[in-house]
């Protein structure tokens, strides 16, 4: 019976590791009815606080009003004109601390408008039509810009620069574009190859050429790029990961959480991704949560998340921590790993309690061993500084003081590799957009000086 078949298709991801696993959407997308209900909840505020809270300043009341009037394509253009990755952001943004946190409905004790879901409704509608790209490029400027890194920052910069009439060549170290959208975001946020579809959509603007397998510092240098192009944008993200600093970090069973997530995202069948039975995730950010929840969804028997500080200091939002708890992830606060046990294979981890002493985190010396055959490190990423030698770096980020310009004139940067805001997709998109505008101004003034 058809109704029965539909029901089966809607059931959440199977947790039996032996079955082919499909990650279902974390949030059920809106349909015509629920979108109208959600849109009608918006008050169409004047100079709305939600706009101010969105790093890309999408005109939220306007796009929601457009959904309300049935002008869904118009709504999508309102979103995409400020945030060309509005589709990914609608899926991946922690809206609970961004736009939805600022919604005036929080003050009247009702629920905030479901801005993220409405944004997804509009952008999906436009992208599903596979129509022409919604924006037209300005006439060719004759300028050519190099972008390093095809993550959200690089692609957003490339798109905006292309719109402004410049030619763009993107150098990407990996075989696919999208950066962490493609390799890092949790599978249940980006189902059905959305990252790849969005890249295709974005490139539909024209004027952008991507060269894959080209890494700065290995295949190309900044000198070369500056000699060949009118300006350079670096959107290389944070390529390196932090280590625990314990003996045995190279024994089988110890893995970077990012690598684990990447394996899931890139697998044809996630069920084939190597997975232990007793999984310990170290960290308190969204990477830790994503890894823990996905491990559980893949069928891991026990998943424990250990964070060395308290709930308030966690990088992950309350929503994410709840999500982990709902997936039966055991969250242990004030705990850090002290030793890895196992010779040719991880068998257990010695954990130690922690506490604050005069503001400093110290071990309590109370330890215990947790059986563990798969440890996922999610204790942060850092800049791979070697590829960027010659540029000023402060507190582990590229210095970009002068309108997204690095210490080297004509070399701009944005996204996770600079300190602009939180390390979030939406911030990277904003950085890319603003950097393109800055490059545009810089090119114009450079032209004036050379001609004047």
């Amino acid at each position: 019976m058809t109704t029965h078949a539909r029901k089966v298709a809607q059931t959440p991801a199977k947790t039996d590791h032996n079955c082919r696993l499909t990650f279902d959407d974390l949030h059920k997308p809106l349909n015509g009815l629920t979108a109208r209900t959600a849109a009608s909840h918006c008050l169409y505020c004047y100079e709305a606080p939600c706009i101010q809270a969105c790093p890309t300043s999408i005109d939220i009341p306007t796009f929601i009003h457009q959904i309300g009037t049935g002008n869904i394509d118009g709504a999508a253009r309102t979103i995409l004109s400020e945030n060309i990755m509005g589709g990914t952001c609608a899926r991946a943004c922690p809206t609970e601390v961004l736009c939805e946190q600022a919604c005036v409905h929080n003050t009247d004790h009702s629920d905030p408008v479901e801005i993220g879901l409405l944004q997804r409704y509009a952008t999906d509608h436009l992208m599903d039509q596979n129509g022409p790209h919604p924006f037209l490029r300005a006439p060719e400027s004759g300028r050519h810009i190099a972008v390093v890194g095809a993550g959200p920052a690089g692609l957003s910069c490339a798109h905006r620069a292309a719109l402004l009439g410049h030619q763009v060549t993107v150098y990407e170290a990996r075989p696919k574009a999208g950066g962490l959208n493609e390799y890092g975001l949790a599978a249940y946020k980006m189902i059905n190859d959305f990252a790849a579809r969005e890249v295709d959509f974005l490139l539909g603007v024209g004027g952008i050429d991507i060269r894959y397998g080209q890494a700065l510092g290995r295949d190309i240098t900044l000198d070369h790029l500056q000699a060949q192009y009118d300006a350079v944008f670096l959107g290389v993200g944070l390529g390196a990961t932090n280590a625990l600093g314990l003996d045995g970090e190279d024994i089988p069973g110890v893995q970077d959480a990012i690598q684990f997530i990447e394996n899931i995202r890139q697998a044809d069948d996630p069920a084939t991704v190597p997975l232990g039975n007793d999984i310990l995730v170290i960290g308190g950010g969204n990477t830790a949560i994503d890894a823990a929840v996905q491990a559980k969804k893949l069928g891991a028997k026990r998943v424990t998340l250990a964070y060395r500080r308290g709930a308030d200091q966690m990088g992950a939002t309350d929503f994410e921590v709840d999500l982990a708890r709902k997936h039966d992830v055991h969250v242990m606060l004030w705990t850090k790993p002290k030793a890895l046990i196992g010779t040719d294979k991880l068998t257990a981890v010695t954990l130690e309690g922690t506490r604050l002493e005069k503001g400093k985190l110290v071990g309590t010396s109370e330890t215990f061993d947790l059986p563990c055959d798969h440890l996922l490190k999610a204790i942060g990423q850092k800049l791979s500084e070697t590829t960027l030698s010659g540029l000023d770096i402060a507190s582990g980020k590229l210095v970009s003081s002068n309108f997204y310009q690095t210490s080297r004139s004509g070399v701009f940067a944005g996204g996770d590799c600079i300190k602009s805001g939180e390390d979030l997709t939406v911030q990277a998109v904003e950085d890319g957009k603003q950097a393109a505008l800055a490059i545009n101004l810089w090119l114009a003034s450079a032209q004036e000086t050379s001609h004047g």
């Binding site: 004047y46 100079e47 409905h105 003050t107 009247d108």
Partner: protein, 424 residues
């Protein structure tokens, strides 16, 4: 418990809620279901002379608000399309089965004395409690010289009403069309013709929407559309005004009023009664939600009456009529200003932009150091127009507060700035 019994044109009804002449009252089965649901009476779907009319497909168009709720509908339906004898037989049967409920026979005919009288006699013989003259149908029937083509000519209203009065002893309800310039001309004509009551309003001429694919008005009939009759909540303001006009006009204030037009809830019903209605008729609301809505209409109205201490409908009938006056009688010295309650304000800024763009720039918008958005009424600029209070999404956040100015009542005719007065 308040007593909802009412009497209109001498007819007693267990409650004031009747179903108006329309599809819900077209058949035995619907009417019985309505009575089972608790409706006090029905006005049977308008009967005409045989051969029965033929209806088109489709028939209804929608006017929705942004949330998708129905504000109004229109229809291009005609009168009952079933043979007269079948309708009369069914009326006879319901009459026997439901002795305590009101059945009014609605009718229309060509403008021939014999046609009106013969039809009225046949309907009266079926056992109805009264007869309603449909002088309002604004589509199809008027093109045949009936419906609103009669209702728009006072002499013809008077004449047809008199014919039916002469033909039967039953109370006569003359149902008026709103598609005219002054409802009093029609109501006065009905009174001259001897009507016991007027029923109003019938539907309003309308095109509710256009199908932008077909490029024709809705409802679309084979690629074309026509104007139709508008009804439902959207027409309530029109009906309220017309009821009030009749109720406060010296010549017509003794006419009983069966109020119709957009009644959906007990509150709508109470408003019509407060403006002078003796009874109520409902069509669209029943079509949109089913007969069950009468439950809350009855319950809500009686709770309202209990709360206010009204024992019967007549206790509050017309209480708002005396406060309905012409503009010239309003006090020009009365003043009111908006006041925003900062504690309940949710900082949406709707009041600010509405007043700023379209009214009197009487609301200030400041952002405090901590980001709080503060909206305050600038008293000197506020004209008390109500706009901000109406659009504020938070109930009672903006109050309209009367200004204590100790000035006496002063109406325009006596106002010093009135040029006529000044010339005196």
């Amino acid at each position: 418990m308040a007593d909802l019994k009412c009497t209109i044109a001498g007819i007693e009804s267990i409650n004031p809620f009747w179903l108006a002449s329309a599809p819900p009252t077209d058949k035995y089965i619907n009417v019985v279901r309505a009575f089972e649901a608790g409706w006090g009476g029905v006005v049977w779907k308008t009967l005409g002379e045989d051969p029965p009319v033929i209806n088109v497909s489709s028939r209804y168009g929608a006017h929705k608000d942004q949330k998708g709720s129905m504000i109004g509908i229109n229809n291009i339906e005609l009168i009952s399309d079933r043979p007269l004898e079948q309708n009369l037989a069914e009326i006879r049967q319901v009459r026997q089965e439901w002795p305590d409920r009101v059945i009014i026979g609605s009718m229309m005919a060509q403008v021939e004395e014999s046609s009106w009288k013969e039809l009225a006699i046949k309907i009266a013989a079926a056992g109805v409690n009264g007869i309603e003259l449909n002088l309002g149908c604004p589509h199809g029937m008027c093109e045949r010289g009936m419906g609103s083509s009669i209702g728009q000519v006072p002499e013809m209203i008077e004449e047809t009403t008199r014919w039916v009065r002469e033909a039967t002893n039953l109370p006569v309800f003359t149902k008026l069309t709103p598609n005219i310039t002054n409802i009093l001309w029609a109501a006065e004509a009905a009174k001259r013709g001897g009507a016991h009551a007027v029923s109003l309003i019938n539907t309003v001429n309308s095109i509710v929407s256009v199908d932008l694919d077909v490029m024709a008005p809705n409802p679309v009939v084979g690629g074309k559309g026509s104007h139709g009759g508008y009804c439902g909540p959207a027409v309530k303001p029109i009906a309220l005004n017309m009821v009030a006009e009749i109720a406060r006009n010296a010549d017509t204030q003794n006419l009983q009023i069966s109020a119709i037009g957009g009644i959906e809830t007990w509150r709508d019903a109470a408003e019509f009664i407060a403006l002078g209605a003796d009874g109520l008729q409902v069509c669209t609301a029943a079509m949109l939600y089913g007969f069950r809505i009468v439950d809350d209409m009855i319950d809500g109205l009686s709770n309202f009456m209990d709360e206010k201490g009204y024992q019967s409908i007549t206790d509050f009938k017309g209480l708002a009529t005396r406060n309905t006056v012409d503009w010239n009688a309003l006090d020009m010295n009365f003043d009111t200003k908006a006041v925003i309650d900062p504690d309940s304000c949710i900082e949406c800024g709707r009041c600010y932009i509405a007043c700023e763009d379209t009214s009197h720039q009487a609301i200030s918008f400041d952002v405090e150091a901590d980001g709080t958005r503060v909206f305050t009424v600038v008293e000197d600029e506020c004209v008390g127009c109500n706009l901000c209070a109406m659009i504020c999404p938070v109930p009672d956040c903006i109050a309209m507060v009367p200004v204590e100015n100790d000035l006496p009542y002063l109406a325009w005719p006596d106002h010093p700035k009135n040029p006529i007065k000044a010339a005196e």
